[in-house]
Amino acid sequence: MTAATRIWAFHLAALSLLAAGAAFLPAYHLTNVAKVMVLATYAMGYNIAFGYTGLLSLGHALFFGAGLYGAGMLVQHADLTAGPALLAGLLAGGAMAAIAGLLALRTQGVAFMIVTLMFAQAGYLTILYNTAWTRGDEGIVIARDARVLLGYDLSADLPRYFAAFALFAAGLVLKLWLVRSPAGRVMIALRENEERSRMLGYDPYARKLVALVISGLYAGAAGAAYGLLFGYVGASLASTQYSILPLLWVLLGGAGTVLGPFVGALLMFYLIDYSSAFTTASLLVVGVALVLLVLFAPKGILGTLRERWLRWLP
């Protein structure tokens, strides 16, 4: 078995397992895993910027929010159907990443973190204050009859699960292809040593901008899907918290691994879900988990597996 077949077989097997989940997961978990798959798509986009290209952004909620509101407002105010709204959300995320990136990528390191954070904060406040369009604090509840894609009712458990799965699978396959392509190799080179990459003839600014836009497209698609699948478009989903969450999921699952963001998002979701059954301090449990992670597996779950046993894992 060649390295490439092994890698594809591994990831397609993981996808098959998720698809099969539709058959045996009870309704409650069907909703949860659908949510995790959408959020993991967002995190995969984050990972393209952070894990592969080395861009530590604290402003991805702007791109997620652009997708969320890009789709949600068009459904609300322009009576767009789910399909075009998804596409609009995807493009809104990419466009917002291009605008923010053009300016933010003139900075590096800590300055880049702060500039992206400020961009996202500006976006969040814009959403909050333009109540006529966004309904501010309350958010937009998307009517059930607008949540229909290709004749399937996205508010029903199974169609929603499969819609989330389709989004996640497409994102995963594209990402796997991207990071193994020559363009992906350049992204990794930029993460490892920007100056050396420049002296091999690569324009770091242009390459990082492309990576950030791809990342924004993922975030936008995930945001739009989140609104349409779960029926709610709210400002809290574009707050700073949603810039930090994908970073935590990626760190937990393994930065710079293709499946890591999903593993991280799934684990953190169920950690909060189970711990909140017996304590109100569920975030404390998350905190402890993160401390343990930093102490014993700083490269995240899949990152550690790759280091110890699975050297071939992309």
Partner: protein
């Protein structure tokens, strides 16, 4: 036949505060030569080649490469025009495989990825280490990998910044053989402290001192120059 000028610099200047790192340097590089740049520590050698390859912006002066003015071009565009630079302090991608390090150079140029990468590795004798992580190579092998990355760009001008620093004698011999082989298809500009290497390889030598050209000529002329002897060769 008169040699064709590949690169020329006129009045090249770069000051850092009060320090005149490079101060009005005129410099010509003929196509196909091995040109060594020597001078005491702090003479401005690395700053000078950094100006040539674009890592440091020029304050005043002009650089022409292959007839075109490249003074204001960013570094990555100069690489595309055929100027490759290998770092003084080894800067390979430590977490990538040896293969990927060289492949990054090959794919930028657009050559056949697998074939050209393995050819460049074979040229420096690292073919059997292609799958090893670059950071686990010995220091000498990392220096060779740097050179392989430069070669894989198929540059018209290869700038080597102290390539033999920290190499064992046997490795230096390998390096010398390599440069002699390279020079059939590329021009080499070499910063070097090891005078045996310089006298052995260079067709021409330029001596820098306090950011200025002290002298320039053939190895024999440089060796006989009293000013050079006083400043550098230790009289």
């Amino acid at each position: 036949m008169a040699p064709v000028t590949l690169l020329e610099a006129r009045g090249l200047t770069r000051h850092f505060g009060g320090l005149k790192a490079v101060d009005g340097v005129d410099f010509d590089l003929a196509e196909g030569e091995v040109h060594a740049l020597i001078g005491p520590n702090g003479a401005g050698k690395t700053t000078f080649v950094s100006l040539l390859c674009g890592r440091i912006p020029v304050q005043s002066g002009v650089i022409r490469f292959d007839g075109a003015d490249i003074t204001r071009l960013p570094a990555h565009s100069r690489v595309r025009r055929g100027i490759a630079y290998t770092f003084q302090i080894t800067q390979v991608f430590a977490n990538l495989t040896v293969f990927d390090n060289v492949a990054l150079a090959v794919q930028r140029r657009g050559g056949p990825l697998d074939g050209d990468t393995r050819a460049a590795l074979a040229r420096v004798g690292l073919a059997d280490r292609a799958d090893q992580r670059a950071g686990t190579l010995s220091y000498g092998h990392q220096r060779l990998l740097e050179i392989a990355m430069g070669l894989a760009l198929h540059p018209r001008l290869l700038i080597l910044d102290e390539p033999t620093q920290g190499l064992a004698n046997a490795e230096i011999d390998t390096f010398k053989a390599l440069v002699r082989q390279i020079v059939s298809d590329t021009t080499v500009l070499l910063i070097e402290h090891n005078m045996d290497v310089v006298m052995d390889l260079a067709h021409r030598i330029t001596v820098l001192n306090f950011g200025e050209v002290l002298s320039s000529g053939t190895p024999d002329a440089i060796r006989a120059n009293p000013a050079v002897q006083a400043a550098y060769l230790g009289g």
